[in-house]
């Protein structure tokens, strides 16, 4: 491949370029940055956001949005925690997945059948799920779980943290779905032109429900990991996660108008956010500035996007 070819390919994935650029930047400024242990650290920190963002990617490609991910995260965490207290790890995990998938499906059903804008639907379910979480826990954290459960958040295999392994597993699955399945093709089609998709025989409602269900399910998986890592489920879990997820997806090159975006882009979008956090911490930048830096990076990314 010649230079031009490579450049063109890279333009399709601006997030990769941005990622590499930021890595080089921090590598110059901090000698603790470019080490294996630091990178593993970054990946572990990113894994939770990334998993949620993978689900959000499908939702956004389909032309929707899911603001409820953070609240779904919290509700599945606390419900699971109370089951875990009862003893069975397997049952607890299953319950968490069930809660996530159920809440996601409810989003999907209201969006698809009620023909209400996803922004509004998920804004409402975000509030409702958060409220349910607080009622359920009476505002108190639930702590102390079996060690076999904590392994999900703290264990590692051959030096790689379990959360990172789960993240890559889910990345592979969602990547596969988006590229090689009917669901993936339909997701792009619904986001690109819903009318044309419908007239082509795509069961739009059904697939929308599946897409939102997946988003809820992935939020629950992320919740399992965090709960295991902290050995505690807190009612304030997941606050603001929807914004991180949306940011990662948009950094990855998706358009909120739908029909565009990739899971690879999202992975790097999430990594950019993680690296920024990590790098700024290593440089001892005050956390007060960190949000602003993230915001600026997002704006720059979107401006570059529009140039293309």
């Amino acid at each position: 491949m010649n230079w031009k070819g490579i450049l063109k390919k890279l333009k399709e994935y601006p997030a990769i370029v941005g990622f590499v650029g930021i890595v080089i930047f921090f590598a110059f400024l901090s000698d603790r940055f470019l080490t294996l242990s630091n990178f593993i650290n970054v990946f572990r920190q990113v894994s939770i956001q990334a998993i949620i963002a993978f689900g959000m990617t499908l939702v956004i490609i389909s032309g929707g949005i899911d603001l409820s991910v953070g609240s779904v995260f919290a509700l599945s965490a606390v419900v699971m925690a109370s089951v875990l207290k009862g003893g069975s790890v397997l049952l607890g995990v299953l319950v968490a997945l069930l809660v996530g998938a159920l809440l996601g499906s409810i989003n999907g059903v209201i969006v698809a059948k009620g023909k209400i804008q996803p922004f509004i639907v998920t804004l409402a379910t975000m509030a409702i799920a958060r409220s349910l979480t607080l009622v359920f826990t009476q505002g108190m954290p639930i702590t102390g779980f079996p060690s076999s459960f904590r392994y999900i958040g703290r264990g590692d295999i051959l030096g790689i943290p379990v959360p990172v392994i789960i993240m890559f597993g889910i990345f592979a699955i969602i990547f596969y779905i988006s590229m090689f399945t009917k669901l993936g093709l339909y997701t792009y089609a619904i986001g690109g032109n819903e009318t044309a998709a419908k007239l082509s025989g795509v069961k739009v409602d059904k697939y929308k429900i599946i897409i939102y269900m997946l988003s809820g399910l992935l939020s629950a998986i992320a919740a399992i990991i965090l709960t295991a890592r902290l050995n505690s489920a807190q009612p304030t879990f997941g606050t603001g996660y929807e914004l991180d997820a949306i940011a990662a997806v948009v950094l990855g090159g998706a358009s909120l108008a739908g029909g565009k975006g990739t899971v690879i882009g999202t992975l790097f979008g999430a990594l950019i956010m993680g690296i920024l956090n990590n790098g700024l911490n290593l440089l001892n930048v005050s956390p007060f500035y960190q949000q602003a830096v993230k915001g600026i990076v997002i704006l720059i990314a979107v401006l570059i996007e529009r140039e293309n």
Binding site: F180, T181, K182, L183, G184, L185, Y186, Y188, A189, G192, N193, T195, A196, A197, K198, L199, S200, G201, V202, K203, G259, K260
Partner: protein, 486 residues
């Protein structure tokens, strides 16, 4: 314009094309789908930059970096997709981008606009919101806008493709008026009758090459077609379907919202059944209603002996639809040709939800070949295909799975002569294979020549079904305007 060259990735859209335009003339630009007509006018109007070549206006070398510059220099373009603000009034649309210069009150704006509209005899009101206008009226707004900017050259890309015959007449009156005011018009159309009616000269492109320019008096229809297609077309309206008399489709008392009331008809095996009517007569909604896209009800629908009740996925029963508006309803513009074709045919290439891209590629390549769709590769985004080739993609994806009955809504809109004949051939073949064919069109010549019976709609109701011996333009027009015939 001299030596204009424009290359897109994988296609040479224009290869050393030249074009000239006199003051006050109507110059028609002809060519098959993908010949480069739209690309050429996009270069004139500053949308694209040519790779090579020069443009002169009044002997002065000109070059427009963007459409705004072109407009300032008096070159206005009415693209096929009209760019108007639906929520604004006619007057506001005309003044948008111009307001600073005038900086006037709303009422004055409406007064000035009404004057302008009156001067040119445009039957629209300045205070009307654009969203309440039909396509033809919106076109007039675009033209009025061009005139308000003192355009000297007005370019119209297939203005007649989406409007009725009557509205076309009105448009031509307006164009003649423009000529008298020394305004030049570049006019693109796939309808040769129109070209002979309105144009002074004609330039033909083929595959991005300049073929020739001629005074309209010095050229015959056949010669023109030959220049465009590169070969002779013997039969414009092939007809070789054989009716067997057996009934394959029947609907009684169809109602579609407020659009269609109490319509009944049946389609025989091998028959090409036509539906005609003016814009807004409900002829499109018949198809959308039966297909399940619009809420509808009926007393009885029988397809090949089976009774069918309204449902949302009529495709599963073998009822297929080629929708009217390919961009809004037919295609996912951001996706490539292959994915658009596969979208409606996933069951052929997928198992347990997994798509085989290998099979998809084979199918897409097959379809592209079968319908002679001009693409640089099956991975080309349909957004960048020429209008006619987009239409072929729609046809191919809908027809891939053989339906039991197909509703073709304006299937030849915007496609070239050669491709039209291909569509007619396909329609005949489908009928002979036993597929019920309902052909819905605003183009009377094709309805008259192709259909065995024609149902004519007027204001949501059927005015009657004409048998073959009664089908002619006059009868259809009478019924379509609500006049009974004996």
């Amino acid at each position: 314009m001299r030596n204009i060259v424009k290359e897109f990735p994988g296609v040479l859209a224009l290869n050393k094309v030249r074009f000239d335009l006199y003051e006050g003339e109507v110059h028609a630009l002809l060519g098959e789908n993908g010949a480069g007509k739209s690309t050429l006018i996009k270069i004139i109007s500053g949308v694209y930059k040519p790779d090579f070549g020069e443009i002169y206006i009044n002997g002065r070398k000109s070059f427009f970096a963007n459409p705004t510059e072109a407009i300032q220099e008096g070159v206005a373009t009415i693209h096929q997709e009209l760019n108007l603000f639906e929520e604004l009034t006619v007057a506001e649309n005309i003044f948008v981008g111009n307001i600073k210069k005038f900086n006037i009150s709303k009422s004055k704006m409406i007064k000035i606009t009404d004057q302008l509209l009156k001067e040119f005899n445009f039957p629209i009101k300045a205070s009307e919101k654009v969203k309440y206008l039909n396509t033809s009226e919106k076109q007039l707004v675009s033209i009025a806008k061009a005139l308000s900017l003192n355009a000297k050259i007005i370019i119209m890309d297939e203005p007649t493709a989406t409007i009725t015959e009557h509205e076309t007449k009105r448009l031509f009156e307006i164009i003649k008026d423009l000529k008298r005011k020394k305004i030049s018009v570049i006019f693109i159309s796939h309808r040769l009758e129109e070209v002979f009616e309105i144009a002074d000269r004609v330039t033909v492109l083929r595959d991005g090459n300049y073929i020739g320019t001629s005074e309209i008096e010095n050229i015959s229809r056949e010669e023109l077609i030959k220049m465009m297609v590169g070969r002779e077309i013997e039969e414009m309206y092939p007809k070789f379907n054989k009716i067997s008399g057996e009934e394959i489709f029947k609907i009684e008392n169809l109602e579609v919202g407020e659009y269609v009331k109490d319509v009944s008809f049946d389609v025989k095996k091998g028959e090409i059944f036509g539906i005609a009517g003016l814009v807004g007569s409900g002829k499109l909604e018949i198809a959308l209603g039966i297909y399940g896209y619009l809420p509808s009800k009926w007393k009885q629908l029988i397809l090949n002996g089976k009774k069918i009740t309204p449902s949302r996925n009529m495709l599963d029963y073998g009822i297929a639809l080629v929708p009217e508006d390919r961009k809004k309803m037919g295609l996912v513009l951001e996706m490539d040709v292959m994915r658009n074709i596969i979208l409606q045919n996933t069951d052929e290439v997928s198992r347990f939800g997994k798509i085989s891209w290998k099979k998809s590629k084979i199918i897409a390549t097959e379809e592209v070949k079968k319908y002679a769709i001009k693409v640089s590769s099956i991975k080309q985004k349909v957004k960048t295909l020429s209008g006619g080739n987009q239409q072929k993609v729609v046809l191919s994806k809908v027809l891939r799975k053989r339906p039991e009955i197909i509703f073709l809504v304006e299937p030849t809109r915007g496609i070239d002569v050669g491709a039209k004949v291909e569509v007619y051939n396909i329609v005949n073949k489908l009928a002979n294979e036993g597929v019920g064919v309902v052909f819905i069109s605003s183009e009377l010549p094709e309805i008259v020549s192709l259909c065995d019976r024609v149902l004519v709609m007027h204001r949501g109701r059927s005015m009657g079904i004409l048998n073959k011996n009664k089908i002619n333009q006059e009868n259809i027009l009478k019924l379509a305007t609500g006049v009974d015939i004996k």
